[in-house]
């Protein structure tokens, strides 16, 4: 916790993991930061922007990834951030970018949500490093989030591959003490595009050798992993411990608190595995236990390599790991865990314009194909007016599928309900599908346009007419897009000012048998106050 290192100016700060990544990105001279908002990753790009970094929200994670990849192809350092399910959206470029490699360093942050504090699943994105063939770093606290981001850019350039930085809800949102470097980042040299068709144009003739290069590169990184200081052995009191624990990320903190006298092999570079280093550690102790959050992934890999390690019971694969759970794993305790009292669930705010929408959907007896956002809360009492919610944009496709197969009297009740930011993210292709393959009973897409990405903390998107930093830009018009795509009935209503008109519009659309879009436009109460502030600021500048 020293305030000064030898040659560098440093500052002691209390930062979240997200903020720490942003500070490191500034220090690493990242030329462009991109992303799509998603808890728990959102604050990385926002902080990077506030610290003076050039940053943007993209329409979705795939586009954000591709923009970052282009910057890295051009020789610049690029950072792209997303939540775990966002990496599914960006998986297409991820797998082939693993073949192409990068020019400038590229770091992809995957922020996982074990325990699903704010997500539709708790998928374990450590699988992506294995599946795509790219290295993965996992920080345990904000200091490591800072240090590992810097290291990730170095590794990316050293080995010519993008690097996955996997964080979790706890490493993203916990604030811990960090020593950061201060002072101006070095100025980057003028960039120039170096043509490299064999590496960058993935036609089969180029991709076949690229696949071999990828495997060779991973072998080189494996050799690096065996000796690098990202994977560290800690021995309890200096004597050879009888209990050894292999772990990574925030699980290390839980396990260390649960068993302070054990020996630890803490993996920072969690893919590719330093298998010989782990083997040496495992054989040096009487009992070796793998403590990992999420799937039984590391333990499975170690057993496949012939190591004799213990791992957790399946019951601990659901939800977050904790100190209590680490103790139970070490004791082999399978007894029922204490369950917290049910806490008060979240709800739509008083005065939220979505409230009227769900009241009316319920009253009209609609079958609601829902989507991801604040409005997913329409499933809870008192509304209970949502029937499906799967992933970003799924409302439109799922609604169309139902319309295609249900008998007419039921099909006519199906409505796809999607928010403004979600519509831009992945509703556009669904809309095109609706016009291309219209169900016999027509269909109704209801866009709940509250003028912000509310759920993740009021981020801008193309439909708000403002960029990440709230400066004005041309606004994407949902109704113009629908009309030009060939949607037959397009109507804009205010769901709060005139509820009767909103109900009329929806009832007419449902009985019309046509392809319809209703845009229910009314700003989110909480976002509207922020927009007003911004307008006042702009007014002052104009004067």
């Amino acid at each position: 916790m020293s305030d000064n290192n030898d040659n560098q100016n440093t500052q002691r700060m209390l930062l979240s993991g997200d903020e720490a990544v942003a500070h490191a990105a500034i220090n690493a001279n990242v030329a462009l930061g991109t992303g799509y908002p998603g808890t728990p990753s959102t604050e990385i790009i926002e902080t990077f922007n506030q610290l003076g970094g050039r940053a943007e929200w993209s329409p979705n994670e795939k586009v954000a990834f591709e923009v970052a990849l282009g910057a890295a192809f051009a020789g610049a350092r690029a950072l792209v951030t997303m939540k775990h399910v966002g990496l599914n959206v960006a998986a297409d470029p991820l797998f082939t970018a693993a073949y192409t490699g990068v020019g400038g360093g590229m770091v992809v942050v995957s922020a996982d949500d074990p325990g699903m504090a704010s997500s539709q699943n708790e998928q374990d994105n450590r699988y992506y490093a294995r599946a795509a063939g790219v290295p993965m770093l996992e920080p345990a606290d904000s200091q490591e989030a800072y240090d590992f981001t810097l290291r990730a850019f170095e590794l990316s350039e050293q080995f010519g591959t993008l690097v996955l930085l996997r964080m979790t809800t706890r490493s993203c949102h916990s604030k811990t003490v960090v020593t950061v470097r201060t002072g101006e980042p070095q100025r980057s040299a003028r960039l120039h595009y170096e043509r490299d068709v064999a590496s960058r144009v993935m036609i089969p003739a180029n991709a076949r050798p690229a696949h071999r290069r990828l495997r060779q590169r991973m072998d080189e990184i494996t050799a690096f992993a065996e000796t690098c200081d990202l994977n560290v052995v800690y021995t309890g009191d200096g004597r050879t411990p009888t209990l050894g624990i292999v772990t990574s990320g925030v699980s290390y903190m839980h396990a260390l608190e649960a068993a302070p006298h054990a020996g630890f092999l803490k993996l920072g570079l969690t893919w590719p595995l330093a298998i010989e280093k782990i083997r040496a550690f495992a054989t040096s102790v009487d009992r070796c236990v793998v403590i990992e959050e999420g799937e039984d992934l590391l333990a499975g890999d170690l057993r496949a390599a012939g190591l004799n390690v213990e791992s957790k019971e399946t019951i601990f694969s659901f939800g977050e790991l904790t100190v209590d759970r680490a103790r139970r794993i070490l004791r082999g305790d399978r007894s029922p865990e204490p369950t917290p009292q049910k806490s008060k669930p979240p709800q739509l705010c008083k005065g939220c314009p979505h409230r009227a929408a769900f009241e009316i959907l319920r009253r009209l007896g609609c079958i609601v194909a829902g989507d991801i956002g604040c409005y997913t809360l329409g499933v809870l009492p008192p509304f209970e007016a949502m029937d499906t919610c799967v992933c970003m944009g799924a409302s439109i496709g799922v609604g169309l599928g139902m319309r295609h197969v249900l008998p007419d009297d039921e099909a006519k009740k199906v409505v796809s309900v999607i928010g403004d930011s979600t519509f831009v993210h992945s509703g556009l292709t669904g809309l095109v599908e609706m016009v291309y393959n219209p169900p016999p009973t027509g269909h109704v897409v209801l866009v709940l346009d509250n003028g912000t990405t509310a759920m993740t903390g009021f981020q801008e998107h193309p439909g708000t007419g403002r960029r990440m930093d709230h400066t004005r830009v041309r606004r994407l018009s949902f109704e113009d897009i629908a009309r030009s795509a060939g949607v037959e009935r397009v109507e804009v209503v205010d769901p709060q000012a005139d509820k009767a008109d909103f109900e009329r519009a929806l009832a007419e659309a449902l009985s019309s048998g046509k392809l319809c879009m209703i845009v229910a436009r009314r700003p989110c109460l909480l976002a509207a106050a922020r927009v007003r502030k911004q307008q006042i600021k702009e007014g002052r500048h104009a004067e």
Binding site: T235, G236, H254, K344, P346
Partner: protein, 175 residues
Amino acid sequence: MQNSDIANDAVSVVIAGLGGQGVVKASDILSDAAFEAGLDVKKSEIHGMSQRGGAVTSDVRFGRRVLSPMVPHGQAGFLVALASDQLEPNRWLLREDGLAIGPGEVDVAMLPSARCLNVAILGVLSTHLAIDEDCWRQAIEANLPLAVRPANMQAFEIGRRAGDHSRTRQGDIEK
């Protein structure tokens, strides 16, 4: 390397309340105060869905060295509840000899604004912690805009006096 000096002497505080009550702000102030005092600090809470009026808790731990950012069950030295109905659901987090501080400890009518309740209750908590008053003041300044600082400083003082008063009374009873 050695796991030297792993002290489990960290102070663990759980702050509980409802979305909009300033739970996260209170935990920011507490963790900044401990940070200003030169201690190791970890603070953790869940963002996202819980912002929409639901129950929110935030864990703050500080000491010579803090490991897990989350307070293990039954190990909180202090449970600070900004809403009285959030005391019981979170009591299981409290250590046997831990202290629960509820909104009833402060007379809300005395506060410059009901919105300062979170800072007033931190005032009560502060009388139980070895963190300098200066560190608290710096933390409050760092976390609140200029316009509301005087009201919150006043609320903190009111909470501090309430805390001192109840501690004295407890002392009397023990004697």
